[in-house]
Symmetry: C2
Subunit: 233 residues, 2 copies
């Protein structure tokens, strides 16, 4: 009876931190989408808003970490419960990084605004950001619903993001070769594309943690990963 009572208290606490994770995920998705929109529409105030908004994302990570530490100290969870709490902390850390990438995109949008635009680039970046935002959303949904099938799907779909990155990388290289005045802008655009690709990697990592949590085994390494043109790890 007492044990059951404690177990329910743990579940309640866990639900509360999971709600914080979903809120954090929502903020990160919006930041990414707004930053890409700010780049595409040259909207400086939107870019500035994304930069400022990152503080709220960082604060949520702190809150989640504090709450998880409290949960571990108060409820002393073991086995799957403990693993779940540790996974929550890892996801919060991933989301904080993704928030940084969105902030960075916003900063570069402001810089790129002052340069001659590369035709088509901002639109491609925005499409890539949209794709990655969906990936992140699905990874978090898979976590909350402990849906290993959806998680497996996220892992596969990250390959499309890698292919989008590869196509952009080659496009930017061509623009730089054609006219050296494009080099600075293309360096910034390349960094943006690389960082969005990294958000996709974080979504994959979250998906892999969901698979580990639900099946007890890490997926084998045979994920069909497009070799990145930038040659990144």
């Amino acid at each position: 009876m007492l044990n059951e009572h404690i177990a329910r208290a743990f579940d309640r606490d866990l639900e509360a931190v999971q709600a914080m994770i979903m809120k954090m995920g929502g903020l990160v998705e919006a930041a990414l989408s707004d930053a890409a929109k700010a780049l595409d529409t040259q909207d400086e105030s939107l870019a500035e808003q994304v930069r400022q908004g990152d503080k709220a994302i960082d604060a949520l990570e702190e809150m989640i970490n504090t709450e998880c530490a409290r949960l571990i100290a108060m409820r002393a969870p073991i086995a799957t419960d403990l693993r779940t709490v540790l996974t929550v902390m890892k996801i919060a850390s991933s989301l904080e990084r993704c928030g940084d990438y969105a902030k960075n995109l916003a900063k570069r949008a402001l810089v790129l605004n002052a340069m001659t635009p590369i035709p088509g680039a901002a639109g491609s970046i925005r499409r890539m950001a949209r794709q990655v935002g969906l990936l992140l959303k699905d990874a978090l949904d898979a976590f909350v619903s402990r849906d290993a099938g959806l998680a497996a799907e996220v892992r596969l779909r990250d390959e499309e993001v890698d292919q989008m990155y590869n196509a952009l990388f080659r496009e930017f290289l061509t623009h730089m070769m054609e006219d050296t005045r494009n080099i600075s802008a293309c360096m910034h655009l390349h960094f943006i594309a690389k960082n969005i690709e990294r958000v996709g990697d974080h979504a994959t990592t979250i998906a892999e943690q969901v698979i580990y949590l639900t099946t007890g085994a890490l997926p084998d390494e045979a994920r069909p990963k497009a070799e990145l043109a930038g040659g990144d790890a």
Copy 2:
């Protein structure tokens, strides 16, 4: 008496995971140094060795996480003890990332080997890697000895690394402008410099966690950080 016995068991367990952290740190420092050396001396077998060696670093992170989870479940630490265990997991996660950057450097060294070299670049990269390796070592030493003074010093010294990165960024930009045939090589070199700069950021993060652990407060944000030429977050 019983409590004292349990406390000592916790300290013993903690010392064991700290030893694993130091071992992991040693492997990451060596990987970084070897990868930079492989680039500088065009040593393909050394580069290949670094690439293969990353598996051992990843395996150590897994072991540390498992051990920390076991420690939390068995000893139910609270307050500073719990915070210490969570910090160990964060440091392991940072080191795993740094290992990835070293592996990535090794991969790019192999690619760059087939290109016309950029004069002086590999030497500069190697000096930067050496500087960052020392920073990482000092951050870990500060953690194990709970030395807030050394940790504060690490934070300040990261600025030098940022300045080295800025200088390299401008150098690569110049080479690309001068001759478009340099663009591919400079893109790879720029990524390498950026990743080494990120290892410095991880060393700073570890140092900040040491300050938090020893003083209970996060250092204020007034770290004298050089604005990065690449404009990164």
